[in-house]
Symmetry: C2
Subunit: 499 residues, 2 copies
């Protein structure tokens, strides 16, 4: 156990090494690392007294809050598993999660759905209301020692990957989360003093991974319940925030909210976006922001599997692997496909998840070769960089040709009038499937379906061009990716040969 | 095994992800990552055919060479343990190492000592001469697959820590080495393209840790047999080196060698040193170089346990812990001492070694509390930063007072005439021990012993001032620290109460 380092251990070391550093800001709440450590210890003791033990689940049903980080750390201290659930979901979806995880404790913020769920809850779970009841719980625990928990134990569960209509909880150990944090510290060049604004949802790995990397370097996590452009500006100014969870239209919204220069956003060290934005902030020169921000990732690998910033000028727009993983592009028979050919993106290494909660068959299937099968298709370019092609289950078969939605989507999105686009396969009597594009145009754009098809034809082989185009106001999303189930249901898709 | 990542795995991934990147430069030898990977595979096969198996030892007796990295990676591929021995040692010292490790294979460069050792070698080890014989060995192996080796297996042995007159081989696993590399990547802000000049000895963790971090990020390792200022300049210029292994007088020597500006050293991104030096290079702004370079470390923790760069403006001059470890300052009874008090620096976490080779009693002793006991004394300052006090075994007891050599040494070294200094305890009839300073003055300095004692008295409590001062040309060193055994032998030290 001398090599073990859990999230709980990281917190304990910060309490020793950074006694005056602010760990958490959330409304009126400001906690130094020793204060956070003390609250987490009391909370862990209180949860243990309510029956939470090693391997048990604790669920959060609510918006962003410092309580999310406290519950995660208390679960790490106990060896329990914490799940921040997506509070935006329907009552039915949340009921599925509570049934699936059969948690020992649920901490909930009142809403129509959660109040109804709480009223129905019989079973063994303790339901604790966020706010006063939660504070009483924290206050009730003494400061005491806990037995060391191996860092290979799962400590975070994030729902993702709805392969068969229902999502699965990806289990992440302290070891995987800390390794992923290390990779973000490297690529984003995070330093002590880093202050992260948690304005994106903490039930999504995109925000959670930066929250945890900020914890790892002993920085400050600022929480706000949800995205509000004016409040984001206020918090960046007041807390000298280094980074927030912003992209695309969110950046435009923040820039617009600060059009008069009311707030000083110069502490924000972020990706270049527009002249107006770049004037307000400090443009970050770390590999994370230097080229286009991002890479390829999924919850099952702890966040990012590849980083664009590790492949400046590279051919593959997903970049190169995280320094703590290996990536192979495999054929269906498990052999590596040569550079230039499409196969499944497979991974192994320090940041990988521990499987899905209570899905032994699916777990065996996903790791059948000793590598994690992402379910996504990719291509190794001649320079070793990786291109993300699209979800394997959504490959479209038209005649003898394989067509990958992501490639057609990129071509569509390069059209100046297109705000967003997704591609599905619809049944075709002659070709098995045909490509259908669902497109959201920018305001005031007047492009026609024929224009778009012609645009794609100039960029890609003709058989990849859409045969059908539907216009919509917005593409439904699941996290960052199109919600293909919803698109299929709305636009007649289906019959994918890989599914 | 899906979470395992060995050094061999890292190399294999670079071969896939960086097919055109130069991994190694050594004289006329230039290898891309796929070329290095192929050579390592052939070498591993050849070693296996010579009987090297999981857990076996392979020793390098020679100067710096790309063969050192190849042998380490081949051992990682096989699950064997590689030891680059200190070739500067006497025949007796090298014989001790070869006897202690009982290696299955030795690769050696001819010198008086190694030739004599090789002639005596009976036993089971295969002796392969560096150069042609080594190249034949590499050429003899086929490209094949190897079974995966768990990254928790020891893969590198570095001799250190001569507690009882003979050194011990600290065993480091891939997991520990890769975690340490990750921490260096964070603090030094290393990026793809990083080029490290291995001009320091690879048998010492100080050079090896940067060699491995450079491997981790997919950079270029340049090897040179030993430190030669002019050759260092030439290589920095020719290979656009980002960092070399330089400090103190080595920097002065390099600056002097390039006084005429013959070589372009601007690619070197390094710590500020002198106006002349700063003009030649690019002053690095990463946390590693921003304040005074360094921190506290030892081979047993993979290199650096704490980093100054994680504690800018902090009170403790060893800085704050590596983000992947925990540090506690413990009393002899294993309890944590309060901030401000001296205790033993103890550590736990991802970068820690796996114990010393074949020293079960010592290993049990060093990890008796579930933490690694470094054998060094330290103090936690009120701001959470750590001060390194000195080796526990060398604490001087004068009357009732504990005196820590490092503190007195720092005071001596702050005198403008002092080039280097070390402090030992000599027997004293009245006080058990008395403080003796061994001092190397700068050229042309004319300071007297009384001057130096008075200087220390103005900085420290009077009982800490030296009662004896000896002048010498140079302080003998073991790595970066004074060789206290040699100093005691030469200057009458001994009778330490903690030893």
């Amino acid at each position: 156990m001398i090599h073990s380092l859990s999230l709980s251990d990281v917190l304990a070391d910060h309490a020793r090494s950074r006694p005056q550093v602010t760990a958490v800001v959330d409304g009126d709440v400001r906690l130094t690392y020793p204060e956070l450590d003390a609250r987490v210890t009391r909370l862990a003791d209180a949860l243990a007294r309510h029956g939470v033990s090693v391997g048990d689940r604790v669920v959060w049903l609510g918006q962003n809050s410092h309580a999310v980080l406290e519950l995660l750390l208390a679960c790490s201290r106990l060896g329990a598993i914490f799940c921040p659930a997506n509070w935006r979901q329907s009552e039915d979806e949340l009921r599925f999660i509570v049934t699936d995880l059969s948690p020992a404790a649920v901490v909930w913020e009142p809403s129509d759905t959660t109040t109804s769920l709480q009223a129905q809850s019989a079973g063994t779970a303790v339901w604790v209301q966020a706010g006063e009841d939660y504070e009483q719980l924290v206050a009730s625990g003494p400061i005491r020692e806990f037995p060391q928990v191996a860092d290979t134990e799962p400590t975070l569960a994030l729902y993702t990957a709805a392969f068969e209509g229902r999502p699965n909880a990806a289990l992440l150990s302290s070891s995987a989360l800390i390794a992923h944090s290390a990779s973000l510290l490297v690529v984003r060049q995070m330093e002590p003093g880093f202050t992260f604004l948690n304005n994106g949802p903490l039930f999504h790995v995109g925000t959670m991974m930066f929250c945890l990397a900020t914890l790892q370097i002993g920085g400050t996590n600022v929480f706000t319940p949800a995205f509000d452009p004016e409040e984001v500006c206020r918090l960046i100014d007041a807390e000298r925030v280094t980074q927030a969870f912003l992209f695309g239209q969110m950046i435009d919204a923040v820039a617009k909210a600060n059009a008069g220069g009311k707030y000083d956003l110069s502490s924000l060290s972020f990706v270049s976006h527009s002249a107006e934005w770049d004037d307000m902030i400090t443009v970050d020169d770390s590999p994370w922001c230097r080229s286009k921000m991002g890479g390829y990732g999924q919850t099952e690998v702890g966040g990012m599997l590849t980083f664009l910033g590790l492949a400046e000028g590279g051919a593959g727009f997903a970049g190169r692997p995280n320094p703590l993983v290996q990536v192979r592009i495999l054929a269906p028979d498990g052999t590596e496909v040569p550079a230039g050919e499409v196969g499944e993106i497979c991974a192994r290494g320090k940041t990988l998840f521990s499987g899905y909660f209570a899905r032994p068959d699916l777990n065996a299937e996903k790791s059948r070769t000793g590598w994690h099968h992402t379910g996504d298709l990719g291509r190794r370019e001649p320079d070793g960089t990786i291109t993300f092609i699209g979800p394997k289950l959504r490959m479209i078969k038209s005649g003898a040709e394989n067509i990958y939605p992501a490639e057609v989507e990129r071509a569509l999105k390069s059209h100046p009038s297109v705000a967003d686009a997704a591609v599905i396969g619809v049944p075709d009597p002659d070709w098995h499937q045909a490509v259908k594009a669902v497109v959201a145009l920018k305001p005031d754009a007047t492009t026609t379906a024929d224009d778009l098809v012609e645009h794609v034809r100039t960029l890609l082989a003709s058989y990849k061009k859409p045969r059908h185009v539907a216009f919509t106001d917005a593409i439904p999303k699941r996290g960052f990716t199109p919600d293909y189930d919803a698109l299929d249901a709305a636009h007649g898709g289906g019959n994918y040969p890989g599914a």
